[in-house]
Amino acid sequence: MTAAAAVRDTARGLLADEELADLRRELVELGFGELVAEDPREAIALWFTEQGRAGRITGALDLLVDDAGADPVLYPLCADRGVVLDPPPTLTRVHVPGVGRAEVGQVRPAGGFARELPVALVEPRADLPDLAEPLLSRLRTALAWELIGAAERIAELTVEYVGLREQFGSPIGTRQAVRHRLADVRVALEGARVVAARTPLDDSVLAAAAKALAGRAALLACDWALQFHGAIGFTREHRLPHHVRQVRFLDGLLGSAATLTTQLGTRIAAEPAVTGAVRDVLGPAAEALP
């Protein structure tokens, strides 16, 4: 077994153990900080995918923030697709320097954050209050992986369900209308995964792109998962609604797919050479070959 596979198994074990309440402490004991220091891309990809799949609150993002030594005052949360937190945060309208009037509040621990998160609700496609680089790109990459993990799990649940659920005498997954949409979900997910996998550490363009692609794929996975699960997918008994809330929160945090897409477009409009500069970081010449 490779070292990465061993770490992934350990991560899966931890995340599957419902008895473990304080995953942040477990992470510290596992040596998450050292793993990140040793190979940040690999460690972040691995842990956050697993965390996204499990849909748990872990504190891994707290650790990344602490590592950077600067805790941002406010985290921008884009509500353009509607963030459906349970329970909803209490928001207050205040003036935020650099942003103007904004709704701010505390979000209960969610996703990678085990502490209460100070958020500023920002208008769709608005300029986001700046988090300092390289922390911003690192957090976006982590969130991209968490979204990919969640979307993977959601897609798996759906593929499994449509293979079992029979109507009109055969599984609904034999119908092209269902098959083609789940194929589209997989295609979106693969695109997000390969871009995230080749996003260099702390590259602002690719980190934003990876998060946008991951958010786009995860939202698509949610839409079709809810549709194809039928009524059971809307119950508290099923885990799907939990994953859907998770995805919508993660997508909104630090720039939603829609907001980041427009921001990337604005960046390219101002600097057309950005599209060609991708060759420096993603391509045959940027590969570490044996």
């Binding site: 496609r125 593929v159 449509v162 293979g163 055969s170 599984p171 997954g173 034999t174 119908r175 092209q176 098959r179 083609h180 789940l182 194929a183 589209d184 997989r186 295609v187 693969e190 695109g191 997000a192 390969v194 871009v195 996998a197 080749r198 690719l206 792109a209 946008a212 692609l213 786009r216 980041l260 897409t261 427009t262 921001q263 990337l264 477009g265 604005t266 390219i268 409009a269 057309p272 050479a273 599209t275 060609g276 991708v278 060759r279 993603l282 391509g283 045959p284 010449a285 940027a286 590969e287 070959l289």
Partner: protein
């Protein structure tokens, strides 16, 4: 030479010869034969500079090294704003297939292909056989010294300008479906073979019909064995759906740069950039997979679907700059728009790709409706 060093030498050469390379800057075409001839000297210059041989086997006319070097060359030519000479497109689809199934033919033709002197096409579709390729009726009947081929092929890219054609014909009986097919390598100057260009909606004559009337094909021009045509075709389509897409992503990223300078809308630019980036990363995976000698598998259908999306969104971004379909007198934007739309049809329609993903990637139960 490693890909990074090769990239440096290509970019330096392109920059150092910018004046002489001016005629090869990217521009739309309407007459394929003129387009091919305009770019032929470019291909030759790239050959003389030693670039086109890189990444092809040294015992067959190449200069060796990783197949990734080829990917670097296309990426840099397109990023620098030049048209990619036509010969490179099918070289990436047909030549790897020849190496895998008829290495003697690959070795014989590769030097001319690398010089840009030999153009290829593939004859698969027929008037009655599009997505259902297993229903094709062009017949290859055994003859003393090989086969005699009779039938009609259509939608042949490069058909009217190609020197050689990789053609799928039926050698079994009519009911044999995909089991009775054989892939043949056919000289386009053969007696009994004629082509007719098709006037396309995009204003070009890029595709052609191909008529075969008792065309003789020697036995040594069977690619992959008699009755193995389906396997060869499926093998080839993996390249058409994924490694070839590497050339398109480079073209699309360059298109987006142009669109940005023309004032394209940020939301459209951003969407198209994400699609092109996904295509770049997916087709890079395909390049790495084939360079390592591994099969591509059903992942190529994923790449093809992303290609279709990326082609569309890039053109949507380009057109968001204004209303060029109405204001572009030469009709070039409309031409490119039609071409972008056709990506979800050629090389296996998007519906077929989604079925393949559902069956082979997701493992969903097979359905009939």
């Amino acid at each position: 030479m490693n890909p990074a060093a090769f990239r440096e030498s290509v970019t330096a050469w392109l920059a150092g010869h910018a004046d002489e390379l001016e005629p090869f800057r990217a521009r739309p075409f309407t007459v394929l034969a003129e387009h091919v001839e305009r770019l032929r000297p470019f291909h030759r210059r790239l050959y003389d500079a030693g670039f086109t041989r890189a990444g092809w086997p040294a015992d067959s006319g190449g200069s060796g090294g990783s197949a990734l070097l080829r990917g670097v060359l296309y990426d840099e030519i397109l990023a620098a704003g030049y048209d990619l000479p036509r010969g490179f497109e099918f070289a990436e689809i047909i030549v790897p297939t020849l190496f895998d199934f008829a290495p003697h033919l690959a070795r014989r033709h590769l030097p001319a292909i690398l010089r840009g002197d030999l153009l290829m096409c593939q004859g698969f579709s027929e008037p009655g056989s599009g997505s259902d390729l297993g229903s094709l009726t062009t017949r290859a009947v055994p003859d003393r010294d090989g086969f005699r081929v009779t039938g009609q092929k259509t939608w042949i890219g490069n058909g009217a300008v190609a020197d050689w054609c990789l053609l799928l014909a039926r050698t079994g009986d009519r009911a044999s479906r995909h089991r009775g097919l054989t892939m043949l390598w056919i000289d386009m100057t053969s007696p009994g073979l004629s082509t007719r260009p098709i006037a396309m909606a995009d204003g070009t004559d890029e595709l052609a019909e191909l008529y075969l009337d008792d065309v003789a094909v020697p036995a040594e021009h069977v690619v992959g064995g008699v009755g193995q045509g389906w396997a060869v075709a499926m093998h080839l389509l993996q390249f058409e759906r994924s490694t070839w897409a590497w050339q398109r992503q480079a073209h699309l990223l360059a298109t987006l740069s142009t669109a940005a300078r023309e004032g394209a809308r940020p939301a459209a630019l951003g969407t198209a950039f994400l699609d092109a980036l996904a295509l770049r990363a997916l087709s890079l995976e395909a390049l790495l997979t084939t360079a390592a000698g591994h099969p591509l598998g059903p992942a190529s259908s994923v790449t093809k679907l992303v290609l279709s999306t990326a082609e569309r969104s890039a053109l949507d971004a380009r057109l968001s700059a204004g209303d060029p379909i109405l204001t572009d007198p030469a009709g070039h934007h409309a031409a490119e728009w039609f071409h972008a739309r056709s990506t979800s049809v050629f090389g296996g329609a998007a519906e077929i790709q989604r079925d393949l993903v559902a069956d082979r990637v997701l493992g969903l139960p097979r359905g009939s409706a």
